[in-house]
């Protein structure tokens, strides 16, 4: 009786899960201020687009600042790029710039500032909880490597990326022994590092629509492989999960890089920013894998024996989410909404 009630309920939850937890995309805004005189600035504002719509966020400068000349705007695949000039009565250094609408939009903005007569840039992360930042002086910009924001962005990208986490969960579930798990996780890490790097520096450019659909399809495929594993069957990927991890790692690496590439890496600290973003992603992945392994171990220690249908729930969740995202991203690609 209980099983008859619970099973359909869990199925509904599994089908609804991907709707609640959309496949994650990195959608931070980007504001760059380059001082061209003591209180004049060249402004670059990248306003993220979500499903083709502009996110309702906008920078708010101090009252004595005014935009000069016309706005040069250009629509890119996932951002509206605006270039303009800003003139203030007193320099912005040491004063606050805020971003309106951050909390409602649920995103963040990277603020990059190059003070007057300085070659160094300072990068700051403006978040919904504290939607303003103080513009650093030239001395502060030289002292503080703001590039560390990219480490945080990397960790955040993986911890909020339900799609990437489901793939990792699937990989951990189909691997039985420790050595194979090490090989599999290493292959995934190495592969996504390669594509993240080549894509982020612009050597390879993968269009967003097909990439999103391919990532979603990889999760659907992983779901079917976990089900196959639980049924005691075998396949090439179950015998050599590291090959699958390598292939999917390449694919997901492009996904990691897409948001970062469109955001734009600071040219003078390109390698460090890329490395830190990558390290952040690896930290997030390792935390998740260790957590899953720890929980599996604890289930054994507490002698918890799940019914078969509970054991299959993770596989069904991965599969349902993958199927949902595959349909969603394919439709978006076909209708041009990607």
């Amino acid at each position: 009786m209980l099983r008859r009630l619970v099973l359909p309920l869990l199925l509904v939850v599994a089908l609804m899960l991907p709707r609640w937890a959309n496949a994650h995309d990195l959608f931070p805004g980007f504001l760059e201020l380059k001082a061209t005189a003591a209180s004049d600035y060249q402004v670059l504002w990248k306003l993220p687009l979500f499903k083709g719509q502009r996110l309702p966020i906008a920078p708010r400068f101090p009252d004595d600042c005014a935009l000069q000349g016309g706005l040069d705007s250009q629509r890119e695949a996932r951002a509206l790029v605006v270039r303009t000039q800003l003139q203030c009565k007193t320099p912005l250094e040491g004063r606050a710039i805020s971003i309106d609408g951050l909390a409602a939009a649920g995103t963040e903005v990277l603020l990059r500032v190059q003070p007057w007569q300085s070659n160094t840039q300072q990068t700051l992360l403006i978040q919904p909880e504290q939607p303003s930042a103080t513009v650093p002086t030239a001395a502060e910009a030289a002292e503080q490597p703001g590039v560390w924001s990219y480490l945080r962005l990397g960790i955040e990208h993986i911890l909020l990326g339900v799609d990437h986490l489901l793939l990792l969960l699937g990989l951990v579930l189909i691997v039985c022994d420790g050595w194979m798990l090490l090989k599999t996780v290493s292959a995934f890490t190495l592969a996504n590092s390669i594509t993240l790097s080549v894509s982020a520096v612009g050597i390879v450019d993968v269009p967003a629509g097909p990439l999103n659909a391919a990532i979603a399809l990889s999760i659907l495929f992983m779901g079917t492989e976990v089900v196959r594993f639980l049924r005691g069957r075998t396949s090439f990927t179950l015998r050599h999960p590291w090959v699958l991890a390598c292939g999917f790692g390449l694919l997901h690496g492009f996904g990691y890089a897409r948001g970062l590439a469109e955001l734009g890496l600071p040219h003078h600290e390109l390698l460090l920013a890329l490395l830190l973003f990558n390290v952040g992603i690896e930290i997030g992945q390792d935390i998740f894998v260790l957590l899953v392994l720890g929980l599996q171990r604890s289930f054994r220690q507490l002698q918890i024996r799940w019914p078969v249908w509970v054991q299959r729930m993770p596989a069904w969740t991965i599969g349902c989410a993958g199927a949902y995202w595959t349909i969603q991203t394919t439709l978006a690609m076909v209708t041009g909404g990607a």
Binding site: E129, L159, L160, F299, L302, I304
Partner: protein, 181 residues
Amino acid sequence: MPVLFAHLMETGFGGFYDGIAHLLITPVDLMLVIGLSVLAGQQGPAGGRLLLALLPMSWWLGGMAGQWLRFDTSLTALTTALLIVVGVLVALARRLKAAVLALLVVVAGLVFGLANGFTLPVAAGMSLDLLGVVSAVAVLVLLISGQVVVTQRSWLRIAQQVAGSWIAAAGVLALGLMLKG
């Protein structure tokens, strides 16, 4: 307010991770979860399973009730008293009847959940903060009680009892400071 209580945390990673961080940096909540996990582990695998089944659920119900009721009251005395009881039981390493353990777990979950519900941000639908807290409770319970169950070495068992005495001592200290005003 004593340093043991109430920290609202903003990780910048959203409500779910804020909830996890809330538990991890609120000493009284964290000590209670650790204490109950060790106590349940001392009772064997059945104790751990019972704790896993009851604590997250009762914490969740208490939290929902706290968010719904939203009246401004302090449960500090009650939470501290529960902490002391749990600490003493861990230090004594006594076998408990399943019903006694279950009652203690449910009461603790409801009271601490209620206290969390008052302090966490209210959400229109499902509270991600509360979900984060409850998930962290479930994960900690699993990891700690599972490890305690398989602990064989005598010095580790003594270390568990020492930890229990520290938890009780922290509770007594907090209660003393509270009574002193």
